[in-house]
Amino acid sequence: MTELAQPPERFRVIARGAIGNEHMQSALDLATARLRGNRLAAWDALPEIEELRQRGHDARMRVIRDVDAYIEQFRTAVEARGAHVHFARTADAASSYVADVCRRHGARLAVKSKSMASEEIGLNAALETAGVRAVETDLGEYILQLAGEHPVHIVAPAIEKTKEEVAELFSRVEGRPVEPELGALTQAARRLLRQEFLDADVGITGANFAVAETGTVVLVTNEGNGRLVSSLPRVHVALLGMERLVANLGDLAVLLRLLARSATGQRLTTYTTLLSGPRRAGEEDGPDELHVVILDNGRSNLLGGRYEEMLACIRCGACLNVCPVYRKAGGGAYGPVYSGPMGAVLLPLLVGLDRAPALPHASSLCGACTEACPVKIPLHELLLELRRDLVERKVASPFERAAFTAWSFLWSRPLGYRLTTALARLAQPAAGLVGPGRRWASGRALPRLGRRFRDR
């Protein structure tokens, strides 16, 4: 199981490393700027974008406010087409189910297309324990698997890798030099992966959406690997978060218009795959069995609460691409799976605030994320709410709480304000020696407190 908890100082430590790494800084800057620019151009080309965003929000909230009913509707529809549906309460339950499916089929090799949910549950490690080799076939995920690393961006998982680093990894696997040039790298990945597709017993995908009315699993990909993974092996397992459901094909159309535009700036991705059940009699393509695993893993905690809107996230990555903190700290600082503003909101909600107390503070609250979210999730407002919960549930340190409380009593009267600021003026020479003042002064001059404006 992937460890999602984030010790308090971890973000700062990893971010510090990222900031010191020039290659990473330039890769982050270039990639996020390009993706952001693409999204803005795609949004600009749609005069109705604001209305579409609202419709996207409404479509997502419709399902989230009644998710059990939509899950049942989906289950009935897809089971009628011969698929198996399994609802997994926890990460372990989901992994065990997938491992069991593999075991039942005597599978040795599973090919995977990109799935953040599978990263979330640590599926690859669970499969390995069950004696199944899992091979990532999304180019970025494949690179990271070779490097033994975790994704740092939910859409472009290897965003921080340079082509030279990728060439080195591929050369090692191929046993001969691969040029650090995009064409050569793609060809190498193609050679390396083709046989895996043909040999695999099980194909594992995520799902961008699942349509309740028709029992359809929807995959949105650019590399075509999703189609190979879901059609070549005898067994297909689709793993999806319980909030991936949409009510009907009409809502799907709205969300598809938003997703690719917001993620990469494309009108649609190269492949939009709608899967409705395993291969039927007379059909040439498709798996003999389809298993749909619907994952809770903490999501139902959000239902009906102040954070419910976070479940509307369509994983486009737009908030990462505009986030000035992500741009500096990189994805790894947020943890092994979700990153950027969406990760900073989602992770504490999935694992508990006490297990990810730094994430709500990994933001300057600039609001760029909220502005970029295609389904209008008020991300920075949710971060503000999480900070409030950190205090009210006493996760924030007693020292911090005592300091703000004392400050607030002193500043609740002009006299208290006058006294404390007069003292602060006297204590100026020592301000940079301890606590927050020291952290401030580590890289900045302290302000000079002169005569107050009110005393002039």
Binding site: F11, R12, A15, R16, I19, A33, V322, P324, V325, K328, A329, P360, H361, A362, S363, S364, L365, C366, G367, A368, T370, E371, L384, L386, R387, R388, D389, V391, A396, E400, R401, F404, T405, W407, S408, F409, W411, S412, R413, P414, Y417, T421, A424, P436, R439, W440, S442, G443, R444, A445, L446, P447, R448, L449, G450, R451, R452, F453, R454, R456
Partner: protein
């Protein structure tokens, strides 16, 4: 003469008294009678943004008590105006305030500004609260242009400068790296001053520039307009 109430803000009162005085001058020159309610302290934002709602409420009440609702409130701080306009009514359960950011107020009232920046190259840094919460982007630029300045665009003007209240001390390395990008952008644009309308951005960017020797120096908008950039 129409009156306004000047909200100095705590940062302005303590660290940028000159900029607040410049704001007062601009308002006077625009024909307003400037009142300074003596009971004012702070809008409570430092605690609010750190999640301490109770503490924020306690301090924010000083704002509610100090300011009359009969006269517009003007502050030389996009951030504090955002707090007062967007969050205080809900936090305190009170009626909205008639509160204005300085440049938006001056611009809306067609204020003339002296041509103290004739031919000078100036970069304007949008504070996030002004840009995204108050949606004020044109007013400060228009005023700078009316002061004779030529505005030079900053690269990635959408990016936050890295202040973010307690963020600046919780994640100092990230915060400083963001400041360095902003300062480098202004230098690259060959601006003679980096002007911002927010004491928060200013205390952070100026502190960083003073430490590293980066130029141009960040300046408050009120100062740039009332006295010209240095």
């Amino acid at each position: 003469m129409p009156a306004v109430q000047l909200f100095a803000t705590c940062l302005g009162d303590l660290a940028f008294a000159d900029a607040v005085a410049d704001a007062e001058t601009l308002l006077r020159e625009a024909g307003f009678d400037v009142e300074f309610p003596a009971g004012q302290v702070c809008c409570g934002q430092p605690a609010f943004n750190a999640g301490h709602r109770g503490a924020a409420r306690r301090v924010a009440r000083t704002f509610e008590r100090a300011f009359s609702r009969a006269t517009p409130i003007v502050a030389p701080s996009g951030s504090c105006v955002t707090m007062a306009a967007h969050y205080l009514p809900e936090l305190l359960g009170c009626e909205p305030f008639d509160v204005w950011e300085l440049s938006a107020f001056l611009d809306a009232h067609g204020a003339e500004v002296p041509r103290r920046n004739e031919g000078r190259r100036v970069a304007y840094h949008d504070s996030c609260h002004m840009l995204r919460e108050l949606r004020i982007a044109d007013a400060p630029r228009r005023l700078l242009e009316r002061s004779g300045a030529t505005l030079v665009p900053l690269p990635r003007a959408d990016l936050c400068c890295g202040f973010g209240g307690t963020f600046s001390v919780r994640l100092p390395e990230v915060s400083l790296a963001m400041a360095d990008d902003k300062l480098a952008g202004a230098a690259g644009a060959e601006a003679e001053a980096l002007v911002t309308a927010d004491p928060g951005c200013l205390i952070h960017l100026r502190g960083r520039a003073e430490r590293t020797g980066a130029r141009p120096l960040p300046v408050h908008l009120a100062t740039a307009l009332a006295r010209g950039i240095a």
